[in-house]
Symmetry: C2
Subunit: 151 residues, 2 copies
């Protein structure tokens, strides 16, 4: 199943967090399942916080940001009655705001899951609710306002 990010136009695929044209980046891949978007990712041990065994806050925010933007694009397409693979370029969103609540430390070196659910769509503005989970434990929650780039 092709990731949402792999439907972005090539000239908009340079993101360090999720662009398939950024060889040095995380290349996060988010998949759309209609009711939600999900991504799986293992954070490398170099991205630790103050203590060696847990992620630093920045990468938690980074992953939630890229996943939220991808989810917003997919929910937007769905609301227009379109699928991601319709052949048209998937609209590209940018972050208007991101709020992250850190619930517990996020582990390194094990697969984590990111979930994104739709809260609202109004015109070019999509709000996505986010979770980062390790196993069944919620390590962080987030809320992202995504704004569609004007063409």
């Amino acid at each position: 199943m092709k990731a949402i990010q792999d439907y972005y136009a090539p000239e908009m695929s340079h993101c360090f967090g999720c662009g398939n044209r950024n060889a040095a980046g995380y290349q996060l891949k988010s998949h759309f399942h209609g009711s939600h978007a999900e991504a799986r990712f293992t954070i490398d041990r170099q991205y630790s916080g103050g203590f060696p065994d847990y992620a630093y806050g920045g990468i938690v925010a980074s992953l939630l940001d890229c996943h939220g933007i991808a989810a917003a694009a997919a929910f937007f397409q769905q609301a227009q009655g379109k699928t991601l693979d319709s052949g048209e370029a998937v609209p590209r969103f940018v972050t208007g705001s991101l709020k992250v609540d850190y619930k517990r430390p996020t582990p390194l070196g094990v697969e984590i899951r990111l979930l994104g659910k739709l809260r609202s769509i109004e015109g070019r503005r999509v709000v996505v609710e986010l979770e980062l989970l390790a196993g069944e434990e919620v390590c962080a929650t987030g809320e992202l306002l995504a704004v569609q780039l004007k063409g």
Copy 2:
């Protein structure tokens, strides 16, 4: 002038964003000036967003997070009537929540400034207001809730 992060205990200095024991990381350095904390940083071009010339949202959040935590530690010490160089370990804070508002794209390859000002201190909880500036332009603002780690 020694950075706030250089007063953290060595075992808490592994943060990818600002730890002086993380060789691969950004090694952000925040300086305390009593009324505010300031950091200067140049974002490498690899950390681009979808388009090549601007930062991805994640690194903006990452820098605001690390700078806000450092500012919180410094304001907390100040409120206790202590200086950073008193010889005691500077208390280490972790992020409870971070909200970032993205105002305009953050440029790559030029020096940006991060500012942190105190909003409130209640017990172990410190709230810091943040700005990221390129020249005189505010690219992002933030609000961070920092919570002191229990010893």
